[in-house]
């Protein structure tokens, strides 16, 4: 009798195990489509579809990917991208939510590459997720383009072969902010900062202080405030800022924190005493409009959005985006678009070297290294991180609310060349900032 019970138990366990194994395989089998003439290039797109980062970053990114892939497949993108798909192969996207722990992201990345057979992955907004996925991408030899995460650590900690990032890293945002601030206030005596207490806020503030130290050694730091992420209420911090004589307050806030901080400090009269610098302010300027005081310094993590130059590619991009989604593309939309265009440029270049045949992933990787290509808002050069990290120009400007037209505008736009605000290829950003930004070419 004992034997029977064990056998029954064993049978149950084995069948359960088989069931668990079969379930996901069945799910995958259902989603595999019939193969067309030219096999499509399967592209995994990872972006926040749920959670607090979905609204300002994730959804504009997804929208941008959707429209870019559709237009590329139809061959409707203006020159030099007028050829259809990736070297003739249509792109078949699969969208995955970035919400969840980095363990979830690593698991889903493996699923994308090993289960769903993605040829490449364009993904990740959170720097933590980028850092977690990078070693796995290397292990799986999976071509991965990070599209929005900002940390400079990705290629500075160890060289990577299969990972690329066309979007410049966050050091440039704060170096350019420092240059712009000093252009407006050449005799700045002191400044303060309010940044969220997590990696993005800490890094932004550290880079800004280091750049200020190099450019204006006499300017001192008054208040260094690091409220916790998504605090939402900044009464105490605003009081502290009101006690200082800082002409300038630096902030890398985004999302709800940015908007509530702008509304709250406006009510307390802080902007009358200090000019605010929002390095990621562009995502909020259309929603808040007149609530942002004139003269506020606004950044867009590159020359994106309203600061983008008037090129045919940019005009086309804004046109199709506004037609489809009834809103202007903000910088995450640009980041996604330039990442996909980078991938296309590398793919087409590799195919051209092969006489038009579909290239292998290793050939695309080789073509991507050190590549120069045109994004909707700027020329991207994969110049640092062994040719894996893009650099581009950046623009800063001052906010103005056009009362006559009821429209938010950016005026006094200053563009900084890529070499002016990015470290050279052989230096980490921290070392470059600490050394006083040697070799920066600003003209």
């Amino acid at each position: 009798m004992q034997g029977t019970s064990i056998r029954a138990c064993l049978a149950r366990k084995v069948s359960a195990a088989l069931l668990f194994t079969a379930l996901p395989i069945a799910a995958v089998a259902q989603t595999t489509p019939a193969a067309p003439a030219v096999p499509p290039v399967k592209l995994g797109i990872v972006t926040f579809l749920t959670g607090p980062a979905a609204g300002p970053f994730g959804i504009p990114g997804r929208n941008s990917a959707e429209i870019m892939i559709e237009m590329l497949n139809a061959g409707k993108v203006p020159a030099p991208y007028a050829t259809p798909g990736l070297a003739g192969a249509p792109i078949l996207p699969k969208f995955v939510d970035e919400a969840g722990s980095s363990a979830n992201q690593v698991t889903e990345f493996r699923n994308l590459v090993q289960r769903d057979g993605m040829n490449a992955v364009v993904g990740y907004i959170s720097s933590g997720n980028c850092l977690a996925v990078a070693p796995v991408a290397e292990e799986l030899k999976a071509l991965t383009v990070f599209w929005d995460c900002g940390t400079p650590r990705i290629f500075e900690e160890k060289p990577l072969k299969y990972v690329f990032r066309a979007t410049p890293h966050a050091t440039m945002d704060n170096v350019a902010a420092a240059r712009y601030v000093l252009k407006k206030f050449p005799d700045l005596a002191s400044f303060s900062g309010i940044n969220q207490n997590y990696a993005w806020g800490q890094d932004s503030w550290r880079d800004f202080v280091a750049a200020m130290k190099a450019l204006a050694p006499k300017a001192t730091v008054d208040k260094e405030l690091l409220p916790k992420l998504f605090a939402g209420e900044f009464g105490a911090e605003i009081s502290a800022l009101l006690t200082t004589n800082s002409k300038v307050v630096h902030s890398s806030f985004w999302n709800g924190d940015l908007e509530s901080f702008i509304v709250q400090n406006g009510a307390r009269g802080l902007p009358a005493r200090s000019t605010m610098v929002y390095t990621a302010g562009e995502t909020a300027m259309f929603r808040l409009g007149a609530k942002i005081p004139d003269g506020t310094i606004i950044g867009a993590r590159g020359p994106h959005g309203v600061m983008a130059p008037d090129t045919p590619l940019n005009k086309w991009f804004r046109g199709v985006y506004e037609d489809r989604f009834a809103t202007s593309p903000t910088y995450p939309a640009y980041h996604m678009a330039q990442s996909i265009l980078g991938l296309k440029s590398a793919w087409d270049k590799a195919a051209a070297a092969k006489g038009g045949q579909q290239p292998s992933i290793d050939e695309v990787v080789k073509a991507f290294e050190g590549l120069e290509f045109e994004g909707p808002s700027a020329k991207i050069r994969m110049a640092i991180g062994n040719g894996h990290q893009g650099i581009a120009d950046i623009a800063y400007g001052s906010f103005r609310f056009n009362k006559a037209e009821g429209k938010a505008e950016i005026v006094d736009i200053v563009r900084y060349p890529a070499e002016c605000v990015n470290p050279p290829a052989n230096m980490t950003s921290t070392a470059w900032l600490e050394a006083g930004m040697p070799g920066a070419k600003c003209n």
Binding site: L23, A27, N104, S127, E139
Partner: protein
Amino acid sequence: MTGLRILLGAVILGGLGAAAPFTPLWLISLVTLAMSTGLVVCGLIILWRGGLVPFGQALFFATGAYTVALSGRWFGLTDAFLLIGLAVIMAALVAFVVGFLLAQYREIFFAMLSLALSMILYGVLVKSETLGSTDGINVTQASFFGLKPRGPGYTFALFWLALGMVFTAWVGVSAYLGSVAGQLAGAIRDNEIRVEYLGISVTRLVHLKLTISAALAGAGGALAALSISHVDPQMAYWTTSGGFVFVTILAGAASVPAAFLGALLFEIVRTIAVALLPGGWQLILGSVLLLTILFVPEGLGSLMIRKRAAVTEKGAA
């Protein structure tokens, strides 16, 4: 726990290990990660049976994970067995220290105090820029007794290591639950005063249970760190603890193998939900938990135990 059942467990796990080279790699990584959750849940069961629900088990999980990451980063240690051993010791040590306070409390007070402690660790990690703040740090790839498998070999090695850890935890925890100290868990839940009258210190017993469960959580954290190759403060966040409690509800406290099956089921449900509903996968996870509570209130394990009990009765007759 009979010798026969140990043999059976060894055969099943050995079979899984032998099947690994014929299984898709993504599934192996997924199972390895699920086993790390299973180890933590195994420890939760020990507390659960005594009526204690910690909402801060992530404290020990993260301690284990960061021990692995920092031992590699600061001291250049790479041996997987050594790293896991260190992680277990560190997590148990932390539990032993905080246990002097935590073991005094029961019910919601125990749950909230453990939650508070894990959130302290989270806060400290987020504020430490040298530890990568919220971005976390990478874990160097481990070696196994001097061998350094890379690529798919590394995934297999970690999977086999996970199976070994599962086997050890299963045998150890089953033995503990069968011992006098383990059997007293139900008595503690029902009536602490009577247990004290038996001449046993309930506080000390709870302290011991907490330390054992922390050691298991540390082992789980170490395995997760090696398997993901990255640690971040999210590992100490309350949602991580909530995830462990979720799986314990799914698995139930009735059986140790159910902890691992529950963790596996949870991970598979999550990954299918993400694939099916990219913008609303949390809905599916929540529904599964609701349905479990409605229809299998004692968890998956109760199904296995109930049937086995019925068979044994028939056998005795």
